[in-house]
Symmetry: C2
Subunit: 346 residues, 2 copies
Amino acid sequence: MNLKELSEKLGLSQTTVSRALNGYPEVNEETRRRVMDAARRHNYRPNMRAKSLATGRAMAIGHIIPLSTKHEIVNPIFADFIAGAGEVYSSAGYDMVLSVVSDADEARAYRDLKAKGTVDGVIVHGPKLDDQRIPLLHDIALPFVVHGRSTGCTIPYSWLDVNNRRAFERATEFLLDLGHRRIALVNGLEYMDFAVRRRTGYLSALERRGITPDHRLMRSEEMTEGYGYRTARELLSAPDRPTAFLTASLISALGVRRAIEEAGLRMGRDVSVVTHDDELSYLRNGEDVPIFTATRSSVREAGRGAAEMLLSIIAAANPDSPPQSRLLEATLVVGMSTGPGPAASQ
Amino acid sequence: MNLKELSEKLGLSQTTVSRALNGYPEVNEETRRRVMDAARRHNYRPNMRAKSLATGRAMAIGHIIPLSTKHEIVNPIFADFIAGAGEVYSSAGYDMVLSVVSDADEARAYRDLKAKGTVDGVIVHGPKLDDQRIPLLHDIALPFVVHGRSTGCTIPYSWLDVNNRRAFERATEFLLDLGHRRIALVNGLEYMDFAVRRRTGYLSALERRGITPDHRLMRSEEMTEGYGYRTARELLSAPDRPTAFLTASLISALGVRRAIEEAGLRMGRDVSVVTHDDELSYLRNGEDVPIFTATRSSVREAGRGAAEMLLSIIAAANPDSPPQSRLLEATLVVGMSTGPGPAASQ
DNA sequence: TGGCGCATCCAAAGCGCTTTGGAATTGATT
DNA sequence: AATCAATTCCAAAGCGCTTTGGATGCGCCA
């Protein structure tokens, strides 16, 4: 059932039917009712390809997932972000198109998306310290919102981010207040912008208390369970072992906990752990009371926010309007993984 | 840069340029070279909307993610499946469109996808015991491949599945061979088809050894860490506690391990654990040697396979061709989580 | 009565591509 | 020299929609 058939069945022109369905004023209310009714009865849905071609709007948003040799991008937070963004898209009548491309093809993938006209805008995931995708998208004039920020980037752009620096600063202060002095940072890969911000927060908290950071306590890797485990096991076996760990993800924190228990220590008593928690739907930080003390910020909510921002930018359709931005604060929730450190008991 | 401009620049008709680019034979090889060259120089990409409209093919595959009140669908395996399928799509020139819809809107979402013409086919995720999506898709004549199977479904359809029954049967036999007699099944939700198949496998292994299944040892829930933990803690505190656990996912297995350790027991010595392992890229079962003994089957590989199958079905474009199917066998890998049970030491 | 504005509808052009049904040129065949 | 079959190209129709630029009919006022 297409417009032509529907309009013939109604004895109206395609113009009128189209206008009736799209809410234009120049059509009699009674006619509109008739049209709407017939459309519903015949289960009519306008063909999006034709509509897109005619209007120039794809009614779709792109997400490009670079498929690294490493696996960090097919990462657990991605599914939740997508779920949040997807909710917003579908209630706004937009589709979401994903492209999984190898790292090398990423730039071409963005150009293609633009040239082929498959999407009206894109969300940029996992920005690096100086991310080349931002100037690229700026050049090809494809509307975009960055999930995160890119410190090295000079041109203005729209973004939505968690205040990672502040979150880790507060988490570090929290541990310091408990009397911990040797706090290990089990960070993510530090070519990722968020990881650097987190380290900055950690360092500034230490500095404010006049504590010289120990570089042996600062690690940076892809955030897997194994990484958390290996790192914690190694650090715990050293002579002056840390009394607290600050980890960048719940998954790594699980590894840290495993190493702690394996060493015959008890988490929350002998060793404290604070982790960042993205509130992933399938990996909750405990049920009622949190297992880990955590800096919590829902990545799904971030997905919603980023999608809304992008849609509003596209709706404005003004390339000269100033970029938008939004900084989400993480909440510091106290769980069972933290307790007083050595300085407190002195 | 569109076809018209490009053809004007070349002094050729749109027809010829189009044919040159699409590899049709009725064009001089030298002309073709000229065209290809100009296309590359001007970075020409045909507008997919127009192309789709003209050809009637969307060059896109849909994945519908129902957003349950429960969270099981935004599940960790989804990201990896998508990554695998995505690889196949992009190398075949297809786009992947995701729709996140609430449970109630799922049927309408499929109808819309068909009517709006946004996709050429869909992949059905997480089939239930008697899944209504299969007859629906059959009715609306939208090509599809099911990841998994639906036992209650009578009409033929294409699917790709892991031999879940066999995998759990083998895992159970393995534990029985080790001398375990009280084996707990920490299964997924049993309205999901795969979960029922796994239980069947578990039961048939027990039966073959003449062991009466103890229903108190069989649990079924959404596969979270917390579920594994709670279940194991409860079962381990019972008078005749199980000596082995068979879990449906690595995430639940982590919870089981936590409960084991918390009870002061040692996994692999006091209590054995076998889990199913989907080989998720961010949650590996150990690095070199597996932590858990596991029935292993890459969900990413399943994504590739399902995508290939769907594309081949679409390419055949014959609605009467017989449905395809593929059954993947899981491999049983031995890790450090299993050891002899009480019957062996008697 | 003629003219004006308003409400309501329509025909047709266009979005950028593919594809049908020739047309023109060439070389080989009779 | 005339015919024929390839070869190579093109004009135009069509995919299903939106949107421009009227057309039509109506009541209303002068």
